[in-house]
Symmetry: C3
Subunit: 326 residues, 3 copies
């Protein structure tokens, strides 16, 4: 996970962390410092991580974190270097602690720091339309253009030779070279991630970003949410058509082609050289392999291995789908 | 139905109403005054109502309206207090009469009354971005924020602690406290309601509003149409993800969760504690019960009773769907 | 095909064309002038055309073009008046040549020519909101209105009595009389047309336009892409609901009704008096007849003859769909 854009309020002492998590355990060295909260994969020995589902058992075994928020039944899976902090609801505990590390990453109110580009140091360096706004912590490369009424909110890096359309809103996003983003997109907002609670749901922080690799194109009216604990990624030379929705933490490989109105739910991973037909939907937390072709209108609710063509709802091998529907 | 926002051109004398409807009936007291046109449920004795489908038989029996536009075969279902006015096409007649009561509610041209918020009495009372426009008859509560380029057109009430994103357009809408509306939404426009007619369809007025209860969230790029004769309602603490379309007269209960790209067609009612997966679609005029779960990608074409989990197209019990698709 | 909006860099001598296509053929009269590149149907004897799929065999037989880019196996289908220019990949060759004729039609960067309408000759002639931008080569008829923040980019013709909503972007489009386009639409951008190539896809020019006939309505948040070699067409009195995606080269007949979130993939033709339910999707290159009804949520992957009602995914006769799903 890379989160260059959010101010880390840490380090916290372990005693503070235990306090926030409402854990009483006098056997722990409460003066130990914790610098960051990260996922199982990317955390180092100065970090705290979390482990909430059997699905991540193999990754948990190899985590380098010194502490891990988990529950009673999963704690035995952790390696010796990692001390389990047992709570009842792992995700709510993670949410509370992340909000302490990154208090700015919970809500997505409009960026008050944005001002007219003509009054900033970007003026003269980027071709732009009327009424373009840019916030703080923005880098824009050479030979870029930004369309009318577009708002580059805070925390955006744009490479060289990029064009951003009109009426688009971007924040918390890294855009590499030669990327085209068309009109009316919203990129980098928090995902649809919260804990349902009667009367008032509990939003959790989204400290990931959107990372769009070189040579990509994003069609009109698309929305790409930033990640919660990891990043949302659009791989090199991947093209998205209009009105596509990419949820938080989704990772799409390179050279993929995604047609209009496709939706990919949270935390799914799409391989490289993947083709997805119009209006197809992919459920959350799935793994779609490389060189996969998904027919238009399909509803994918299971992992798909490499080199497979599927179609239907639920999606099955396209041969079977066509035979059953002759 | 509550329509605080449209100027009522009434009352009309019954003779005028008969004239508009092209009805000749000398037995009626043509001097009687009619104050408003409302649906069967909400009309009182000074109102005229309408009854066009057997489906509403039970409600019709209890209407308090003194007059009812209906047809030959339904008129016998009305109670004694309600005089039937028989026409050939009930909905076209209602449309014509509503247009006389509410001439402003037919088209949705841009709000010419909108001016820069900095020139209005809202300045200094609400945190706002650049180029925010507000129209007439707008109330904004305490501690609200409105993003860049957003247009609050006429007839909008916003409660306390609300945040409205950027590039959003809102009109004819009541928003209660603690509501977040994200970027690029369009809320309160007329629905897709008209009478098809070769060469030139006939639009009917939409005199309902959109009512968003407390603690709701509306995702980026969503559209919520206002009601035609009743209101469109989003219940308390209900969260909508990105790119959702809610058609006119839809009513969604509290504590519901609706994932990305879902579409709900006109006049359907969704219960409370309902979960709807991404890209699911719900046909018009359906009743979805409380505590229902609808799987992603489903196409719902029938009513769903309380406490039911469904999936598929057409949606069926999820157990059956998964068994048939092993 | 009509492309009134793109500057034609031609004519080119045949020798130049052969050079661009990398063809060596000393038997041809290399001084012959070629004025334009057009599709099989519309080209005349001063034009070059292209023929890449058996599907267009019957049209190819009657082309009036003097030259045709094609491949080894199709060249024998051409009439005597038309000299085949054989290449390995027809579409890539067409793309290269079209880019020479119409260099401006490849990318869709924001229109730098657009300026505030108040500073143009349109001021005083059209009712408009705040911050409306208009580009070059714009005609606006009588009694029109344009909403706030809307951008009419270059090459747009708007007839009489039209209303354009707010936050909408339009370019390369002809809009006839009495058309309503609602908020947050993007109309006239290039389609999702390119040649997939590892590391860097190859975009081809889109020299078609969008043509919206009289009395149409286009709902909020819709996207209509312009054609590549032919036009995208919305027929007279056809109504589109919100969040609809119409891809390049699609042609929709008159008096059709298309509900929310429908998507129509590239080059499909929809007849007249067609009704399409919400969220239905139609694959590319299909022919949907007149008076067809397509149920909500359907996925259409085959041609549909006139006067047919279909539903399902894949769409089948609605009678069969309902019987199989009782």
């Amino acid at each position: 996970m890379s989160n260059p854009f959010y101010k880390n309020n840490g380090p916290f002492k372990l005693s503070d962390v235990l306090n926030i998590l409402n854990i009483k355990d006098s056997n722990l060295n409460s003066d130990k410092e914790i610098k960051d909260i990260k996922d199982l994969n990317t955390s180092t020995e100065t970090d705290i991580t979390f482990f909430h589902s059997k699905k991540y058992k193999d990754i948990a075994k190899n985590t380098k974190a010194s502490f891990c928020i988990t529950n009673q039944s999963l704690k035995t899976e952790l390696p010796n270097n990692c001390i389990p902090l047992v709570v009842e609801n792992v995700l709510i505990a993670v949410s509370k602690l992340t909000a302490e590390f990154y208090p700015d990453a919970i809500n997505d109110k409009f960026d008050e720091s944005a001002s007219n580009i003509e009054k900033t140091t970007h003026e003269g360096k980027v071709k732009h339309g009327k009424n373009v706004l840019v916030g703080e912590n923005i880098t824009i490369g050479l030979n870029c253009s930004i369309g009318h009424n577009t708002i580059i909110e805070k925390n955006v890096f744009i490479g060289n030779n990029c064009s951003i359309g009109s009426n688009t809103v971007i924040r918390n996003t890294i855009i590499k070279n030669n990327v085209n983003i068309l009109d009316n997109c919203v990129i980098g907002k928090h995902g649809f991630g919260f804990f349902p609670k009667n009367n008032q749901n509990l939003r959790y922080p989204h400290i990931g970003i959107v990372l769009i690799e070189e040579n990509c194109e994003i069609g009109c009216g698309s929305t790409i949410d930033r990640g919660s604990m990891s990043n949302t990624l659009i791989g090199r030379n991947t093209y998205l058509d209009n009105q596509i929705h990419i949820a938080h933490n989704v990772k799409i490989g390179e050279n993929s082609i995604i047609a209009g109105q496709v939706g990919i739910a949270g935390s799914s991973t799409i391989g490289k050289n993947v083709k997805i037909g119009g209006q197809a939907g992919i459920s959350g937390h799935l793994k779609i392999g490389n060189n996969v072709e998904i027919g238009g209108g399909s509803g994918v609710i299971k992992d798909i291995p490499d080199n497979t063509k599927v179609m239907g709802y639920p999606a099955k091998k396209i041969r079977d789908f066509l035979r059953e529907n002759k």
